[in-house]
Amino acid sequence: MELPLYAALLTFVVLAAIVAVFLRDILSSIIALAGFSFGAAIVYVLLSAPDVALTEAAVGAGATTVLFLVTIVKTVRPSGERIFERIRWGPVALVTALFGGLLVTLPSLPRVGDPAAPVTAGEVTTYYLENAYPETGVENVVTAVLAAYRGFDTLGEATVVIAAGIAVLIVLRREVFV
């Protein structure tokens, strides 16, 4: 029952990614990329990772798409009738080599849902799963790890968001607004 669903979703995600890369019109590329993000979000939901899915849907499909859209308004559309980008073989070879290299590492990864995988059976995971609720009173273990056990790291993350935001805003300010 689940397998065809995964197969369909993953096919969709991969196709959307390929289309996003090869489409010549950036607007269509952005829409394909949003489709990719939505597909990925649904895959995450099926893999029981709702926090990641919510992030992918809100940031990947939502905010990024909107920011891309308001950015490309300032660019020029390519002229001509071709729908797809011309393929340059140098980069293709490079990407294929990288992809092949990554594929080699695939067999050493644990299977999806493997109960003996280090990430589910490891000492740290077990500790969090057993102690997160008694120690923090928070039911969502992801939030407990994010804001309590790894609170300092999250502060770093928030700092990165602020720093990146300020940097981009300073650059944009030079052009328009305030």
């Binding site: 926090d51 809100a58 905010a63 950015t71 120690e135 923090t136 039911e139 990146a164 935001g165 805003l169």
Partner: protein, 152 residues
């Protein structure tokens, strides 16, 4: 869009305006829910902040970006970023002040202190993220409704 086809960037549409007038308060409330309820269900500050910002971006799409930018100037977004950052760091440093360690929520000695601490931190993160996304959008989109898509 410049170049070959020159569509107007903003067309006033009753359907879109009415829909968004109805929907955006709920989207904003959902953003707050995701922020507050991150402790019990999926979500948290990062996601909630984006959703809350999205509700205002929806308004910008429906009512035109320039009017929205006049309504939400840079000030509130900047204030949200600063307040969020100070909340997060303040809660962290407060732990030291009351005799614990940095970000040690238990040191406050409140019942369920950790939980409230986590929720406040999530709200802080949400304010930061919403502020950054909103000001990025407003600044990127600055100026293109006035002269039909072209600006410079």
């Amino acid at each position: 869009m410049s170049g070959t086809d020159n569509r107007g960037t903003y067309v006033e549409s009753t359907i879109i305006m009415t829909t968004i007038r109805l929907v955006s308060p709920f989207v904003f409330a959902y953003g707050l829910f995701v922020m507050f309820h991150g402790a019990e269900s999926a979500g948290g500050g990062f996601q909630g902040g984006v959703i809350a910002a999205a509700s205002l971006i929806l308004v910008a799409f429906a009512f035109g970006i320039e009017p929205t930018r006049e309504w939400i100037t840079d000030g509130p977004a900047r204030t949200a970023i600063a307040v969020g950052a100070f909340t997060f760091v303040g809660i962290g440093l407060g732990g030291i002040v009351v005799g614990g360690r940095f970000l040690e929520y238990e040191a406050y000695g409140i019942h369920h202190g950790t939980k409230y601490g986590i929720e406040l931190v999530e709200l802080g993160i949400g304010a930061i993220v919403a502020g950054v996304i909103l000001s990025l959008f407003m600044n990127l989109a600055a100026g293109f409704t006035e002269d039909g898509g072209e600006q410079e």
